[in-house]
């Protein structure tokens, strides 16, 4: 017994070993994580790393091509594109994370609750989810923005609402199988309340698909925000946002100043690409059965 107890800690790997093993097994996922971390650092420390203010106009340097002074060039108002992209990372990640987490957690509670209670509650909730699911994400978001108006907070609401049924549907499917296992019956027999059974016994068992979905949701939310801002229904000027940077000037100056269109789009694609790669790798690591999908 003593020998076993002493051996046990040696079997446990440090987080550094785990990270190294993950990066060897999942090189693409590691690349994704690096992109996500880089975007997060850019967003968090924008004040210190951005060379210019994102809203400062330099009318002497409008539609300047990339140069030593402006690494990614300037837009039609003489604003530094690199600085706007760095600050735009903050807008994208705030909207992405808040929408994904709020929408995800609301979906988690509704999905598990729906599966746990079953019967009429499940039937009604599922029909409501059916209705919400039938609306394409961008159309639902359009309607919500039309009601609440534009701006960061309202865009978050607009993107969060359509994410709820998508999460609830997947979580419910996982929770339905868990509802039937003996330890849930045992918990009921012990006289535990519904909240305790749901939160302590069911939710932890659907965390794997939930986490995977959450990473996908962040990417989807960033894309939705960019689309709404591009349509002029999302974040408004002068807030730096990637989708907004592609509105107006990008098409107008496509042939004379293509960098205005190229770099913000690359920033969106690369960040969402990073989240997708990391999400895929996370899924493989958490659930080996899904490795080939």
């Amino acid at each position: 017994m003593t020998v076993l107890a002493q051996d046990a800690p040696a079997l446990r790997r440090s987080w550094l070993d785990t990270a190294f093993a993950f990066s060897r097994r999942q090189p693409l996922g590691t690349f994704g994580l690096v992109v996500v971390v880089a975007a997060a650092i850019a967003g968090l420390s924008a004040e210190w790393i951005a060379p210019y203010s994102p809203t400062a106009n330099d009318f002497a340097a409008m539609t300047e091509p990339p140069s030593a002074a402006h690494w990614l060039g300037t837009d039609q108002f003489g604003r530094d594109l690199l600085s706007r992209i760095i600050y735009g990372a903050r807008t994208a990640l705030i909207i992405g994370f808040v929408s994904a987490f709020v929408g995800g957690f609301a979906g988690l509670v509704l999905g598990v609750g729906s599966a746990y209670f079953g019967g009429l509650i499940d039937l009604v909730l599922q029909r409501v989810m059916d209705v919400l699911m039938a609306f394409p994400l961008i159309i639902m978001a359009l309607a919500v923005v039309a009601i609440f108006g534009t701006g960061v907070q309202n865009v978050i609401v607009a993107i969060t609402v359509p994410l709820v049924p998508r999460c609830a549907r997947v979580v419910r499917a996982s929770a339905l199988s868990i509802r039937e296992v003996p330890y849930i019956d045992a918990a009921r027999t012990c006289g535990f309340g519904h909240a305790r059974i749901i939160l302590r016994h069911m939710v932890p068992n659907v965390v794997a698909p939930f986490l995977i979905m959450l990473t996908a949701f962040v990417g989807q939310a960033i894309l939705a925000e960019a689309s709404l801002s591009y349509l002029g229904l999302g974040v408004q000027e002068p807030t730096p946002a990637w989708g907004l940077m592609l509105q107006g000037g990008a098409e107008e100056y496509a042939s004379t100043a293509p960098w205005i269109a190229i770099f913000p789009g690359l920033a969106i694609a690369l960040t969402v690409f990073g989240f997708s790669l990391f999400g895929d790798a996370l899924r493989d690591a958490i659930d080996p059965k899904l490795r080939d999908r």
């Binding site: 919500v144 894309l223 349509l231 496509a254 969106i268």
Partner: protein, 322 residues
């Protein structure tokens, strides 16, 4: 089977009524008044004129009556008249649907032509460099915003045409029917179709690969190989046909969601389709038009889902209609 279809159709009624109620409430929650907007924003607006406008559009009646009118009209196939343009909603939709439908169908074709061969090759060479490239291309397709891809494709066309002909060329924006001028029609719809199709293909490619990998591990594939069949027969006749079942489902479901992609892509290419009409209807607070467009989208979603389920069961005799 008929009983199953009938059951499914009946089950879709609550979804349609729910969607109708939701869009009805959402539209009424939008701040502002269409009559005030229609009568002009400058100067003072005559309250009598606003009241007349409300009466003319039926907005002076109770919300319950308005809702029942909307549902009854929808059941009869009468969507009413656009509050903004005054034209029948069916006419507004009918003039714009050809371009959107053509882009959607062409995008599906582009997606299938890219996704199924690449997904199959990826599965057949699992974990090879080819597989990694295909998977990366697929994830990039999901990550790239379609409107940016649209802008980039315009940029490439401008540059290439400038280099080749000495003058930049842009695809025309006035829609011409395929039957009137096929070449001009294709030049209008091909770029939006590729833009949407790439994203669509990325999702389908991942599903094809995953389904093929599962099927390739089945016993009957081993048996087919053990019989000495040529590999292309094993792949095409035994594996792919079975792997296509979930792919068909996905293609159907994604087709129903194409309208979401059209909303942004039509804006990029300046095309007067259903997606653009959607944005205009919401911006103008055109209740009747927005309601009709949402109901059309939801109806397409419900019908496509049903069609996919029926097709699924028809393709796979093991599935019984429950």
């Amino acid at each position: 089977m008929y009983r199953y279809i009938l059951n499914r159709l009946l089950l879709s009624i609550p979804t349609l009524i729910g969607a109708a109620a939701l869009v009805f409430i959402l539209m009424r929650l939008i701040p502002g008044d269409i009559c005030v907007v229609r009568l002009g924003s400058g100067g003072s607006i005559n309250p009598t004129a606003v009241a007349n406008c409300h009466a003319q559009l039926g907005l002076d009646r109770s919300l319950v009556l308005q809702f029942f009118d909307f549902i009854a009209g929808f059941a009869r196939g009468d969507f009413g008249t656009s509050m903004w343009s005054g034209k029948p909603v069916s006419q507004e939709i009918a003039t714009r649907i050809p371009v959107s439908l053509e882009i959607a169908l062409l995008a599906t074709l582009v997606a299938v032509l890219i996704a199924i061969p690449l997904g199959t090759i990826s599965a057949l060479h699992q974990n090879s460099w080819l597989d990694h490239i295909v998977r990366t291309v697929a994830i990039a397709g999901i990550a790239t915003p379609s409107f940016w891809l649209g802008i980039m494709s315009i940029l490439v066309v401008l540059e290439v045409s400038h280099l080749a002909f000495g003058a930049p060329w842009m695809p025309p924006i006035d829609y011409v029917s395929l039957w009137d001028d096929p070449l001009r029609n294709l030049s209008i719809v091909i770029l939006p179709a590729i833009t949407i199709g790439y994203r669509y293909s990325a999702v389908t490619m991942r599903m094809t690969r995953s389904a093929m990998l599962e099927v390739l591990r089945e016993d009957y594939i081993r048996t087919a190989r053990a019989k000495g069949l040529f590999e292309h027969i094993v792949v095409n006749r035994h594996a792919l046909q079975n792997a296509l079942l979930p792919v068909v489902t996905l293609i159907g479901i994604e087709f129903a969601f194409l309208i979401g992609g059209l909303v942004v892509t039509e804006q990029v290419f300046n095309l007067n389709g259903i997606g653009r009409l959607f944005v205009l209807a919401v911006q103008n607070q055109d209740y009747t038009l927005t309601q009709a467009l949402v109901m059309l989208t939801v109806a397409i979603f419900v019908v496509t889902n049903l069609a996919v389920d029926v097709l699924y069961a028809w393709l796979d005799p093991r599935i019984r209609f429950g």
